[in-house]
């Protein structure tokens, strides 16, 4: 199990390294996530120890945001002065973003399904890479 803790840290370290060397606008941990993901795609399975470490740490993901959240104390006066604009912007934007993202995804997934369903003839379907997808043809 310890070796997989080390693996997570190593991926993050590599991510930070990539960020420093290439100036990609991503955090080291997000690059590390991509690296680990590609590693898993290559070996095509999840080692039991990694599964265990990742579910342990992700189970308490919310806890990890608490220290940063307490940082609100540093900006109390600005928040007091502009609370109405900030509240309106954050609440409005959150609701709108959830709806827009969800609606676009639903629309496009629906369109994709429909297109595949309407394609006539089994030969055409086999030559189409979409039919390799297990769920969409039902």
């Amino acid at each position: 199990m310890l070796e997989f803790v080390l693996l997570l840290l190593a991926c993050q370290f590599l991510g930070e390294l990539v960020r420093a060397l290439t100036n990609v606008p991503l955090s080291g941990s997000v690059i590390g996530m991509a690296l680990l993901f590609f590693g898993l795609v290559v070996i095509r399975s999840i080692p039991a120890g990694l599964q265990q470490v990742s579910s342990t740490i992700l189970q308490h993901l919310s806890l990890l945001f608490v220290p940063a959240a307490v940082g609100v104390t540093l900006h109390l006066s600005l928040l007091r002065d502009e609370w109405l604009a900030i509240t309106a912007a954050l609440v409005g934007s959150t609701v709108v973003t959830v709806i827009v993202t969800g609606a676009v995804m639903r629309l496009l997934c629906g369109a994709q399904k429909l297109r595949i369903k309407n394609r006539p003839g089994s030969l055409a379907q086999i030559s189409d890479p979409h039919t390799l997808r297990p769920e969409v043809s039902q």
Binding site: L8, C11, Q12, G15, P25, S27, S29, V30, M33, A34, L36, F37, V41, I46, L50, Q51, V53, S54, L58, L61, S62, L63, L64, F65, V66, P67, A68, A69, V70, G71, V72, T73, L74, H75, L78, L79, E82, A85, I86, A88, A89, L90, V91, G92, S93, T94, V96, T97, V98, V100, T101, G102, A103, V104, M105, R106, L108, C109, Q112, E135
Partner: protein
């Protein structure tokens, strides 16, 4: 008696205090949250942070002193984000089925998040500092802060907006998605991740594994899209 007082005072700024206080308060809040049947209003990040802020203000302990202990928890965010690769891999096939919808939904979502926040804040008469800092509020904290730096915002203020967005997203996303009748766990997860980054992902993971994985995906891609687009869009606006 005064010895005890002095010893206690010294201990409040030692790392042990910030660390154990954070864990203790969170554990309590999480217990209540579970007992309530996961009521969004009792989101443990929000309630724990609220209690800790009040404790700091009442006791007069500086945030820096608190963070000396809390940084150990904060540090774990990095490896935790890396660990999201595991749930992501489990939905790899579902992801490939929907590459185009995911890409378009994330791009639209990332632009909507920044545009609507900036627009509403500006219309409500917020200061330029706030408007510039709020643009990257739907992006995961470390990336959001570097975007803020690039577009003339205040990174530590952006961190506050990011966290508040995460709490709000966790509180209203489920309700909003139910309202517009979106039931597919992939779509729900993606929308939550795009809107409310890691905190949203944490919530989605508690609901089910597929939406958790898609939330993680939404979070990562939103960071990428926002980092690529916001600096250019900001140049056009200010």
């Amino acid at each position: 008696m005064s010895n005890v007082r002095q010893a206690l005072l010294q201990l409040t700024s030692a790392p042990l205090a910030g660390l154990s206080l954070t864990l203790g308060v969170y554990a309590g809040c999480h217990w209540i949250y579970r007992r309530s049947g996961l009521k969004p209003i009792l989101n443990p990040v929000f309630s724990a942070a609220l209690i800790l802020v009040v404790l700091l203000l009442v006791s007069g302990v500086e945030y820096e002193a608190y963070f000396r202990g809390a940084q150990f928890i904060d540090f774990l965010l990095g490896p935790a984000v890396v660990a999201l690769a595991v749930p992501l891999f489990t939905v790899f096939d579902k992801m490939r089925e929907a590459t185009l919808p995911i890409a378009v939904a994330v791009l639209t979502g990332a632009i909507t998040a920044a545009g609507s926040a900036v627009g509403i804040a500006w219309l409500c008469g917020a200061s330029a500092e706030t408007v510039r800092s709020i643009a990257s509020k739907s992006v995961t904290a470390p990336v959001a802060m570097s975007i803020a730096h690039d577009i003339g915002g205040v990174p530590s203020l952006t961190a506050v907006f990011v966290i508040l967005t995460g709490m709000l997203g966790a509180a209203v996303a489920t309700w909003t998605l139910d309202l517009v009748g979106i039931e597919d766990p992939k779509t729900r997860g993606l929308a939550i991740g795009v809107t409310a980054h890691g905190q949203g992902t944490a919530l989605a993971l508690q609901v089910d594994a597929t939406s958790g994985a898609f939330a993680g995906l939404g979070m990562g891609l939103t960071a990428l899209a926002s980092a690529a687009l916001l600096p250019t869009l900001a140049k056009l606006l200010w």
